[in-house]
């Protein structure tokens, strides 16, 4: 009879500050859900008035997890505005930097942010290390490979370490987890296998970060990309740097194939009932801006690794940035109808929480309840991310994507419908990581070949004073979490207006003007929870999107109104 209204704040193991509220009925099924971001910085406002050449460095600080991707998009938006086409070396280096980000991000997401939703660490204590070897072999075989670790002594060591850890009482970051929840479904041996990989991935992720630093200078927050190209001439000139990159890539790829993919088959099989049920499927409309240029043609003319497009009701359509709009009906800004980014208005209008009861503040869900706006594509709510990329590529018939998705489903003997679920979202990320690692091997060889042939060109010259008088452009790409775009208007050498519409804006958004849910919200509806006081199932589905909330909150203002004393004069609009 009585419905429960639960508040989960903070949502942990994500980037940023996110709150989820859910209404759970008497059958422990989620019947309503609200997603809210509770942090605001105002980065776009800060970017206004700066030299467009400097914006990339600051825009990158939108996020330290998707590090580098905002940097590149900002730079590309300016290059697009200026009509600059970068040299081949620069394109390859940028692809490799962002490729390293994908590998790093996806692996860290699965093992360190997401795995504890599927893996019960405490159960690993009961495992038989010898049987764990059989388990490792079984899943690697399905993935068509040999296991990363298949040594009972190694599994035994990890188990001993865990035992010691548990015995000493304070569990630190593992304390008060949802251990023993009946919705954990792995066997003790499977848990031990996953925990072993958790620890190894913690060590190995540094290698993927190092790959980015070889050409980027450091990670997080690389510093070698400039409007017109890249600056890392030294690292291109020296063949041993490219060789080091390749060596690290090879090692990391072996982990992806020998541990990550098999673990996905394992989790996918053990949680197959949920996948087949479509638990967490959500909106089932997908959007891809498109990403990774494969040719040295001008902007948006090149063939892409991840083709852009939209799949609504199972049908593919071309992507058109004109159809992007943002609505603020339920976001803490003033405004009354959805507007295209270039015409958007953003005036903060913080209305705070609704009722407060028993020390808990509840969102005012009838009114405004988040710092994230609600993006809409062609008046449709959509989901972005690895699943969107795989679905759009598959439906469109992209050769490479079809091959990798097909191989995954065939090896696992799985119907395509499993993809439309929380499990499917997690699997799509792994399929994509496998694909990316393979493609990067091709790119790094291409780079080595090009530099060995004597091409050391890294930058395209342009006349700043001329091109920056009155220009506008956009940098559209695919970040690890999904479609990421920066739009910039430039006048007299300074940024007149700046906006980013990014993955977690699409996914974590609140309801829109038609009261339609955002992707997180829709994905929670119908999910059955084992214990309403333990938000395990909510975390599982929300984490499957890999939330990045710092990215999602931004402000725009094209009409010269500003938050602070800082004034911008604007006259042009699209």
């Amino acid at each position: 009879m009585s419905k429960k209204h639960i508040v989960v704040d903070p949502i942990t193991r994500i980037e940023g500050h996110l709150r989820i509220e859910a209404i759970i009925d008497e059958n422990n099924t989620i019947v309503d859900a609200y997603s809210s971001s509770t942090m605001f910085r105002g980065i776009e406002e800060i970017l206004k008035g700066r030299d467009p050449r400097d914006c990339g460095l600051l825009a990158m600080r939108i996020c330290g997890v998707c590090t580098g991707t905002h940097y590149q998009r900002s730079i590309e938006a300016v290059e697009h505005a200026f009509g600059v086409t970068i040299p081949k070396n620069a394109r390859l280096v940028r692809n490799l930097i962002q490729g390293s980000l994908y590998l790093h991000d996806h692996v860290v997401h699965f093992y360190h942010l997401h795995a504890l939703d599927w893996v019960d660490i405490t159960k690993a204590l009961e495992a038989d290390p010898q049987k764990t070897v059989d388990e490792a072999k079984k899943w690697a075989k399905i993935a068509g490979t040999t296991p990363w670790v298949a040594d009972s002594a190694k599994f035994g060591e990890v188990q001993d370490r865990l035992k010691k850890f548990v015995k000493q009482g304070r569990l630190g970051i593992f304390a008060k987890g949802y251990w023993g929840n009946p919705h954990y479904k792995l066997t003790p041996e499977q848990n031990l296998l996953a925990v072993t990989h958790y620890l190894q991935a913690l060590d190995l992720q540094r290698d993927a970060a190092k790959m980015m630093a070889i050409f980027g200078g450091k990670n997080p927050h690389p510093q070698s990309i400039v409007v017109g190209g890249v600056t890392c001439v030294q690292d291109l000139k020296n063949p041993s740097r490219i060789a080091l990159f390749k060596e690290l890539l090879k090692g990391f790829r072996a982990f992806i194939k020998g541990a990550y993919l098999p673990d996905i088959y394992m989790a996918g099989t053990m949680y197959a009932d949920e996948a087949l049920d479509g638990t967490g499927r959500g909106l089932k409309n997908y959007l891809v801006y498109g990403g990774y240029r494969l040719q040295d043609t001008g902007f948006y003319k090149s063939e892409l690794l991840f083709p852009g497009g939209v799949v609504v009701d199972g049908k593919y359509k071309e992507f058109d940035q004109e159809k992007v709009a943002e609505d603020v009906t339920h976001a803490w800004y003033e405004g009354d109808k959805p507007l295209h980014p270039f015409n958007g208005k953003t005036i903060p209008n913080y209305t705070g929480f609704g009722k407060k009861e028993g020390g808990i503040a509840y969102l005012d869900t009838k009114g405004k309840y988040s710092w994230i706006k609600s993006p809409i594509y062609d008046d449709t709510r959509v989901e972005v991310g690895p699943l969107a990329r795989m679905v759009v590529g598959y439906v469109k018939g992209d050769k490479r994507i079809t091959e990798y998705v097909g191989k995954f489903l065939k090896n696992g003997n799985l119907p395509a419908k499993v993809l439309y679920s929380t499990v499917g979202r997690t699997a799509a990320r792994a399929i994509e990581t496998d694909l990316m690692a393979d493609v990067m091997m091709e790119w790094v060889d291409e780079l080595a070949k090009n530099t060995a042939a004597g091409d050391l060109s890294t930058w395209t010259e342009f006349d700043f004073n001329y091109v920056s008088k009155d220009a506008q452009g956009y940098g559209l790409e695919e970040a690890p979490r999904g479609a990421l775009g920066h739009w910039v208007k430039i006048r007299n050498g300074k940024v007149e207006n700046y906006q980013a519409v990014v993955p977690s804006t699409w996914n974590a958004a609140p309801r829109d003007y038609k009261n339609r849910m955002g992707a997180y919200e829709a994905s929670l509806i119908g999910t059955k929870v084992a214990k309403p006081e333990e938000p395990l199932e909510i975390l599982r589905t929300i984490h499957s999107f890999d939330p990045c909330i710092a990215c999602a909150v931004h402000i725009v203002d094209t009409k010269g109104k500003s938050l602070g004393e800082f004034k911008v004069n604007t006259s042009c609009s699209i």
Binding site: R41, R170, G217
Partner: protein, 408 residues
């Protein structure tokens, strides 16, 4: 005029920390550290960890471990004789509880912590310090996460190190950012956690000086920890993000001596921020020889020339990047051919983060800047201000160092 002025600016003796404080000082310090470690050893262990076993599990030899300890000793500016103490302190680190909170941040410092380099041992340290609360890594969420935080505060009252990542809005955005089911503002949250901490470590430039959200026009009125908390020792580890070696260095120093490291006038540990990027830059010889990169990708760039003319702010920036570099020393921004953007300095987004030398800065006007100054005039004004800033900083550091030396 400019050129001459800059030359004098760059060739001025920097605030380099005097690394040799004399035998008596180190003897005294050694004894204090010894006593501190013995005292720590007597405490009930929070975990029973056999470092030899952990090293073996991780495939790290004792020799590698000592190599790491000796490198860290040098980084902390201690004589080689302290190496065994540093090694011992590393083994005792599990006794220091750490609570890590995130405010107006991008998680870049949390990510940096994961990259903690040196030999693999730093990873072990990540496991061995008692990390009681860290939103990006912890298993529970919501009420259970909050319960874990309360539990840690209660259990380690007055003992934990509070790491803070991200700025705090105290202006117009004071109410705009909240955390937890009760809707506590960032400011309230920080103050509450600070009250029971032993000391606070502000990591990254947002937590130290306001950083990104505080860049002009500072829409939310963001500030750093030291502008909010007045009743606790604060250690600032700026940079965007902070170098993980410096985070580990501060923790180690605290374990070793029971005190916070010697700080400069901006509360930055001198072992890391005692000298300028420029002082130890691998391209310094080209600066002295007047060989500059004039344009991205030019012949100078192909030959590692100095990046000053491409906007490098190494001469104005105090940090140890040029020595310890990033990601297991594989590279650093100047190594990758881009100038330093001054990310460990206050207000660097408005003062330093652009790709032209200061005199040519076409930078954003500060709020309330009034009449637009000409680019040259504005650049010059800034240049002078920066010069004065460095001079003051140098003097303050020198005095600070002397005072500390005399006391002991």
């Amino acid at each position: 005029m400019n050129r001459e002025h800059l030359r004098s600016l760059f060739t001025t003796k920097s605030a380099r920390v005097d690394t040799n404080k004399g035998e008596a000082y180190y003897k005294n310090l050694y004894e204090r550290c010894r006593a501190r470690l013995d005292e720590l050893k007597k405490m009930t262990p929070m975990r029973t960890i056999d470092i030899a076993q952990v090293l073996e599990d991780e495939g790290v030899s004792r020799r590698d471990f000592l190599k790491w300890a000796s490198a860290t000793t040098a980084m902390l500016m201690l004589p080689a004789s302290f190496t065994p103490l540093v090694a011992e302190a590393a083994e005792l680190m599990n006794r220091i509880p750490v609570i890590w909170i995130e405010l107006q941040d991008c998680a870049g410092n949390s990510e940096a912590l994961l990259r903690s380099d040196g030999p693999k041992v730093d990873e072990i340290i990540l496991e061995i310090i008692s990390l009681e609360f860290h939103e990006t890594l912890m298993a529970p969420a919501g009420h259970q996460a909050e319960a874990q935080l309360e539990d840690a505060i209660e259990h380690f009252k007055g003992e934990y190190l509070l790491f803070v990542e991200g700025a705090i809005p105290v202006g117009r955005g004071r109410e705009w950012c909240t955390i937890g089911a009760s809707g506590e503002t960032f400011e309230e949250h920080l103050k509450r956690l600070a009250n029971n901490a032993a000391a606070i470590v502000a990591v990254g430039t947002c937590a130290t000086f306001g950083g990104v959200p505080a860049a002009a026009p500072n829409p939310t009125g963001a500030v750093g920890v030291m502008d909010v908390v007045g009743n606790k020792p604060i250690i600032n580890i700026p940079a965007c993000p902070a170098n993980p070696a410096n985070m580990v260095g501060v923790i180690l120093h605290y374990v070793l001596t029971g005190q916070i490291p010697e700080l400069d006038s901006l509360l930055r540990p001198k072992f890391a921020f005692g000298y300028r990027i420029h002082d130890n830059c691998e391209r310094r010889a080209h600066f002295d020889a007047g060989e500059f990169v004039e344009e991205w990708g030019d012949e100078g760039a192909e030959n590692n020339f100095c990046l000053y003319k491409m906007g490098c702010k190494g001469p104005m920036t105090f940090n140890n990047c040029s020595i310890i570099r990033y990601n297991e020393s594989v590279n650093w921004p100047i190594g990758a051919g881009h100038g330093c953007i001054g990310c460990s300095e206050p207000d660097f987004w408005d003062k330093y983060a652009y790709e032209r030398p200061m005199a040519d800065a076409n930078i954003k006007m500060a709020p309330g800047g009034g009449v637009e100054k000409s680019v040259d005039e504005f650049g010059l004004a800034l240049l002078t201000a920066a010069g004065v800033g460095i001079a003051i900083h140098a003097a303050a550091s020198a005095i600070g160092g002397k005072k500390e030396g005399e006391e002991k």
